[in-house]
């Protein structure tokens, strides 16, 4: 599904990604972890087109996409859920979903509010909202939702876009424990639908529930790549998060 080879990204002379390479198979769920400043969000920005790479290649289903603008990558099935809530707060929940549905290439959007196509899109939007149990708030402004509800809305909106590959940037950040369960259910639903998911998350206990693999980044490089069990038991993970032990020097 996604092939990343030797990606370098730098900002004002500072290298943020230092030759990242990895392959994500269709239907796979992969966690991306690493300490603050390790380049996780830049990695996602680079895949979705918001951070141009200095060199390297990104292929989606075999097609090179690294030269494409973000909207063209989105139209090819790349969905992004932002760390700081990418919903449109001034729009209603229904409109948030409509915006995504209207971007789909296979269906022409309705031009008039009373047209059948517009009504169909509204009905489909309601169906998506029902999936995350937000249909009663369909006409409320999205800004009135709680943090967890905003996340659910953003995930279901990306689903409405028709994305096959989901990039979820810290979906449980600032979310109550109860809502965390709802978000976990949403991610499991994506897996059931056969979607490919990449999740940035600090809580390794949370992501190991549904991740097939975990990639660990440090200083813009992949330092660990394996199953959750392999990564958890690897001594290098402890070293990355808690520092390397000073070796006693013999007198």
């Amino acid at each position: 599904m996604l092939e990343i080879s030797d990606i370098f990204v730098s900002f004002q002379g500072t290298k943020v990604l230092n030759g990242i390479s990895c392959t994500i198979a269709t239907g796979e769920t992969v966690g991306v972890i690493g300490p603050n400043g390790s380049g996780k969000t830049t990695f996602f920005n680079c895949i979705s087109g918001f951070a141009p790479s200095d060199s390297g290649a990104i292929s989606l289903r075999g097609e090179r996409v690294d030269h494409l603008d973000p909207h063209l990558r989105a139209q090819r099935g790349l969905g992004r859920v932002f760390q700081n809530f990418g919903i449109f707060r001034e729009m209603s929940l229904l409109e948030n979903i409509q915006v995504a549905l209207e971007s789909r290439r296979e269906r022409a959007p309705g031009l008039f509010p009373w047209s059948k196509r517009t009504r169909d899109i509204r009905e489909q939007s309601m169906t998506f909202l029902k999936e995350v149990r937000l249909e009663k708030k369909a006409n409320d402004k999205a800004g009135s939702l709680s943090g967890g509800q905003m996340r659910l809305l953003e995930i279901v909106r990306t689903l409405a876009l028709g994305a096959d590959l989901f990039l979820l940037d810290e979906p449980t950040a600032g979310v109550s424990p109860r809502m965390k369960e709802d978000i976990a259910r949403s991610i499991k639903n994506l897996q059931t639908l056969g979607k490919t998911v990449l999740i940035i998350e600090h809580d390794i206990t949370f992501i190991q529930k549904f991740c097939d693999r975990i990639i660990v980044l440090e200083e813009g490089q992949v330092v660990l790549d394996g199953t959750p069990e392999q990564v958890r038991s690897d001594v290098r993970l402890q070293e990355i998060y808690f520092g390397r032990d000073e070796q006693p020097t013999s007198a």
Binding site: F50, D69, H71, A74, I87, F88, M91, E102, S103, P109
Partner: protein, 298 residues
């Protein structure tokens, strides 16, 4: 009661209704870019001027028909916006405002100094009113019907635009551009289209303005006019379709009672500007936290 009815049906009432119709087109079209798209577009009056001069010069110097003049005004203003948009829309919000202001200044300078074409500060006199289906549009009541139909059609078009997928895309990118792009929206193209449609509508208003007054000169398209249209959109609440309609009627008609006071005409113009400025200050202060939704970035 009788006197109000007399005013409405009088030549003066018809004149006011024509003014409201003109400003409805101007304000609603600015609302598309400034309100819905949050583009600080200060070139709106320049587009208005391009439209007005296109009609004025084509009808007086070349004897062009009504249809040719209106179509040329709309097209020229739209093309100007397209050229300006290619350069300016790549700029960030603040620089876009400066870019459009610079464009307005260039147009203003051209109107004054390119005398062989624009007739300079003397302006273009003798613009003939249109003749359609044998109807005499020199009669202001007939002209009101014509511009009223155009203004109504424009409002319907803008209502449909606001509630269309295009309108939603524009609102989305105004609030969170990256999130809109992540949903497959071509943000640059959407802005360009909005800018062109808005500018072309200003050109349409300019065309009717030239026809109505029969005479135009550069003073009609000064910065003060831009501020007035901006005031209408801000008072009506940026992005609000009905708000801008209400604010247009309110702000165009509000200073009119001043005419009936025993004030010298030398003071009347400045008083009107002062009144608009005070209203603008008051509304900006009152709505300082909620005038525009906060722009968000990653």
């Amino acid at each position: 009661m009788t006197s109000i009815l007399e005013i409405i049906t009088s030549e003066y009432g018809v004149h006011l209704a024509i003014l409201v119709s003109l400003y409805l087109i101007l304000a609603q079209s600015l609302n598309l870019t400034f309100g819905l798209g949050q583009l600080f577009n200060l070139a709106h009056v320049a587009s208005y001027a391009v439209g007005a001069y296109a009609t004025a010069l084509l009808s007086t110097d070349y004897g062009a028909t009504f249809g040719v003049c209106v179509a040329s005004s709309v097209t020229l203003s739209g093309v100007f916006a397209l050229l300006l948009g290619v350069i300016s829309l790549r700029l960030s919000t603040d620089y876009f405002a400066i870019g459009t202001l610079a464009f307005s200044s260039v147009i203003s300078a051209l109107l004054i100094n390119w005398k062989s074409v624009t007739h300079g500060v003397l302006g273009v006199p003798g613009i003939p009113r249109p003749e359609l289906f044998g109807i005499d549009f020199y009669d202001n009541s007939n002209f009101l019907v014509l511009i009223g139909i155009v203004a109504l059609a424009t409002q319907v078009l803008y209502y449909l635009l606001y509630t269309s997928p295009f309108g939603r895309s524009l609102r989305a990118l105004a609030e969170f551009e990256r999130a809109a792009a992540a949903l497959g929206k071509n943000t640059c193209r959407t802005r360009n289209i909005a800018f062109c449609v808005s500018s072309a509508s200003a050109g349409l208003a300019g065309s009717f303005f030239a026809y109505y007054l029969n005479y135009i000169d550069p003073s009609s398209f000064a910065l003060g006019e831009m501020v007035f249209i901006l005031t209408i959109v801000i008072v009506g609440s940026p992005g609000s379709f009905w708000g801008v309609i209400g604010a247009t009627a309110f702000l165009v008609l509000l200073p009119e009672p001043l005419r009936f006071l025993d004030i010298s005409s030398a003071y009347l113009g400045p008083m009107r500007q002062l009144l608009h400025a005070l209203i603008l200050f008051a509304v900006v202060w009152w709505k300082r936290d909620k005038l525009f939704p906060q722009r968000r970035t990653v």
